[in-house]
Point group: C3
Chain length 435, copies 3
């Protein structure tokens, strides 16, 4: 059995992840440019990373790596010269990938470039326009309403030029080349749950796993969304077949219940592992079927790859009102939620590492557990959970069931079945079969 | 894609079907004789028909074509000579296939030949006795109760003589010999939903389809129930294997919700098509499992044939109180219901015609829909139905899924998936595979 | 068809079983010794038995046949010499397999050897300690509370010596060597539902079946729990493969609803037979999945055997408050419940005996049932249950469905389908295929 050190210090680890999210929050990230480059650099201070720069114009399947976007400042000034909208206050104010602009225009002209959320007038929306050149501002509906008629000075000091797309990998070699993929998009500016929570968790998880001896190799991808996973897949066709399962890490810090979104395969080991862990997590949860929408699982699960990659989240993107607004901030993300998500990730990985087939060495009738101290003596009524787990493991260890199969049929936590298998193996009643 | 002209004029088509039902209502039909012959003749004025006469005594599997029955008049007269029951008022008054009778008898003798519905005393039941020679009258329970004791003159001017069983076919050749069977019993006298509604719909559907270019050939059978389908199967053994699916058309004009009764195969293409159409029809509906009772699907689904023939109805026979009574009349059938049923039939046929396999030509990662105008730009949150349909079609067009498979997994109307496939094919991202 | 004489006299048979349970109640049984030997002797007066004595020390798989235990008397006397606990009042007072003791001790010393049910202070628990040498008493919590401090004389006149384990078999040869196993533990002292009810039913069933001509051979095992089934399996390895299905008989006399616990195979013929019988029994019931806990099905369903053995009970052990206490007595068991259980057992066996494959000799279209008197004439609406059963049998007798398959798809009692098959066979429309 491989020990994943599941009982880490929740409070310490939660607060460590939260502080890293705080550190990264102010940076203006996008799918290319200095913001994501700086972010990856800071991750690299915590876990060993290999950095990649893919030049603008590189063909990646049906896509082309776009120009690199950088932004220094942006504002809207009123006639008095006051910045009524200021990029320095909140980087959500500028539509991502906005082209530069330096112009004076009337309010009505300006409004054609302004995005608000009329239903939530106090929030700034998060908007981008990666592949269609334009510029724009995002602001609170109530701020827009207060702007008087008149002319405004509009200024975006950005550049959209040949450069490169930046991503990074953390590769943790295990006993075999079979890989588990942990993928995390790093392209969003100051929004916290989506996806500073994912960045913090993936970094913490890589740091946790690199101290352990594991069966699988683990590949962590820190990439821009969509174009990043497409780029990685296009440039690493030789590695794809090694991926036996994976998870897209996003929205793991909000205080609501966990959700697992199945892979396209629907019933792969990763899917069954996540279902078992959530079912026995002691909290409400949801298992959602795969749909070809969401984050980078869309690319990993495209029909040309069909990888067993799901997504373990808390509240999925699109399903919480704070999503892609200025309300998705550091108040929305909680250290306890991050720590709980971390624990769920580790437990899922525990299944991948420890699922295996065992053989009952005494398969005819039950072995006499009592004389081995594995059965209660002068019996109270009923069998406790631990005894039932032992009986299930013995009953189903016939070479046709693995531990997760047994956990599923017994409707028990994988960890309880694993522990029973360990005890029975120590007691000489069970032996591992192959892998 | 084949265009079935799904958006016909509901009001016009509904009223056209209703008027045809009105025209046919007065005719006294049975499983043989001039009534059904005249009915088929009138259908033949609307769509091209091939007429068949199968002589009395012909062996058809375990059955024998019965004598031809015709009736000219029938009555019960009281002692004053007044017709207290008169065939000219309602042809339901005579049990179908009644032998001739000319006798005077007491009320108590007469009662042995009278059928009523004691629970619904104001309705005349519809009864037949095809294979056991006898005579009888049907009347309202309350009319029977009012008859005073005394003698009555009983007169049925019918004949049961060697002749023939009449049926007709409308065959619409398509691009292939694969056939879709539309079967409709035409043997009931003045009852409207069962089955003038079916006759009107089948006639209208044949008329609609014959103007279109279709993949399948369509065979419409206008036959007497049970003996008609058995006769057709017995005489057309060489054609049976061409039937890839079919529907028995009955009870399609009542104002209640649609019902699909599965074929014996339970999950044939026709079954899945009907389930998809009803599920997304925007109205309550029911999917009923196959049972070896009902109408001619019993014969098509007998184990020696096991054809994929279901029945798309509104309220099934036996499940509405008007069934097989004088209350199943032209007031019970509605033009709107007929039009809605017609639309459902066409949409099911649309699935049969357009289900097919396509290949995603850009299967690695998602293709860039945005630069093809197939993806919303500066994005609002969430993906609309049309975008989701495109993503599903791309995701599952891997050679192992057909359009209906995709509609089922996406839980979307077939039509939406079909439209997405058409757009993606036009955009060069998808290509049809084989048939 | 084999006639199992399903319509026995419920009242007579129920009272006969109950009287046998009454007769056996006072005997102090255990897994070895004179109590079980005497019990088997009395069963042997009713049905032919073969007795087996397996010497102490015999190795049976992972287990060893234990010493033989016998007990003559036991008590706790207070300082006045009064028996405050007396084995002669209730044999549950002594922990099964208690070693002999003859000592005076304080109340507090004594209490370490006393078992009570604090939550149900008026009941004596039933406890054993077969494989860990110790002694103990069981009593009512309220009796214990009333014992004053002071010294007590403790006396158990038992012996634990080399001897043998006793069990018996009743083998009823059928037309084939395929066996049905009926297994019943006989090791509990004065507790009635668990398992004098099982002993009484198994004895009655053996007596009922031995008068009949049957396809399967029937093997009834009257054995001590756990060690008995393990011993039988260890000594009869050559016979195990003949067992095609079986039932563990226990807890069949309480007044609550029946429960069937599936075999490990979950969907074996015995499992499906029991499910059909319970579903159509006209009373509430429960189907429970297999778990590797309970009675001897644990051994028969161990992975080295994986026999299709379930358990047909009323309330399962562990699930009724009287279980393993002095409240599981002759007042708790009812003659009517025993008779109902007997009927359920017979009906399940009826499925095993009569399930078979038939061929519709007229598979193209329906045969004309009317001229064979198998179809109602001038029809009322709807098809009755008997007609529907005939139509289902005809429709599915295609060589791929057996009668139980048909009963399941038609959702009808097996007996109704069996009767329809008999009538159709007599009518020349159906013929049996192989076995």
């Amino acid at each position: 059995m491989r020990d994943l050190n599941l009982d880490f210090d929740d409070a310490a680890v939660g607060s460590q992840m939260f502080r890293f999210a705080e550190e990264l929050f102010p940076i203006c990230r996008s799918i290319t440019g200095e913001g994501i480059r700086e972010t990856l650099h800071r991750i690299g201070k915590r876990v060993p990373l290999e950095f990649h720069e893919v030049p603008t114009g590189t063909k990646v399947f049906d896509w082309t790596v776009p120009p690199e976007w950088n932004i220094r400042d942006a504002y809207i000034k009123d006639q008095s010269g006051r910045r009524v909208v200021d990029f320095r206050d909140n980087n959500l104010h500028v539509v991502g990938y906005s082209t530069p602009i330096d112009a004076r225009m009337s309010l009505s002209e300006l409004k054609e470039h302004v995005h608000t959320l009329p239903d939530r007038p106090d929030l700034i929306p998060y908007r981008t326009s990666y592949y269609s050149e334009s510029w724009g501002f995002c602001m609170e509906e109530e701020r827009l309403r207060r702007l008087p008629d008149g002319n405004y000075d509009v200024w975006i000091d950005s550049s959209l030029e040949p450069g490169s797309l930046t991503y990074a990998e953390c590769y943790l070699p295990g006993e075999t080349d079979d890989e588990v993929l942990i993928s995390c998009h790093c392209c969003h500016p100051s929004v916290a749950n989506d996806n500073l929570s994912g960045i913090a968790l993936a970094t913490q998880l890589a740091d946790h796993l690199r101290g352990l001896r594991l069966h699988h190799s683990y590949r962590f991808l820190f990439i821009p969304g969509t174009i990043g996973s497409i780029t990685w897949l296009a440039l690493n066709g030789d590695k794809v077949d090694r991926i036996k399962g994976g998870l897209v890490v996003t929205c793991v810090g909000d205080p609501r219940h966990p959700t697992y979104k199945r892979s396209r395969q629907a019933n792969a080991l990763i899917d069954r592992a996540a279902a078992n862990i959530l079912r026995h997590s002691g909290q409400p949860y949801r298992i959602a079927d795969f749909i070809p929408y969401g984050y980078d699982e869309r690319q990993y699960c495209s029909p040309g790859f069909d990888l067993a990659v799901g997504s373990l989240m808390r509240t999925p993107n699109d399903e919480y009102p704070e999503y892609h607004t200025s309300a998705d901030n550091l108040q929305f993300v909680r250290p306890e939620a991050l720590a709980d998500s971390m624990s769920l990730y580790l437990r899922v990985i525990d299944v991948l590492e420890n699922d295996g087939s065992y053989l009952n060495l005494s398969p005819k009738g039950e072995p006499q557990l009592g004389r081995r101290g594995l059965y209660p003596a002068v019996g109270a009524q009923g069998a406790g959970l631990q005894l039932m787990a032992r009986l299930w493991v013995l009953n189903l260890s016939d070479g046709r069931h693995r531990l997760l199969d047994i956990a599923e049929r017994a409707d028990m936590p994988f960890g309880t079945i694993k522990e029973a298998a360990r005890l029975l193996t120590d007691g000489g009643l069970l032996a591992p079969v192959g892998t």
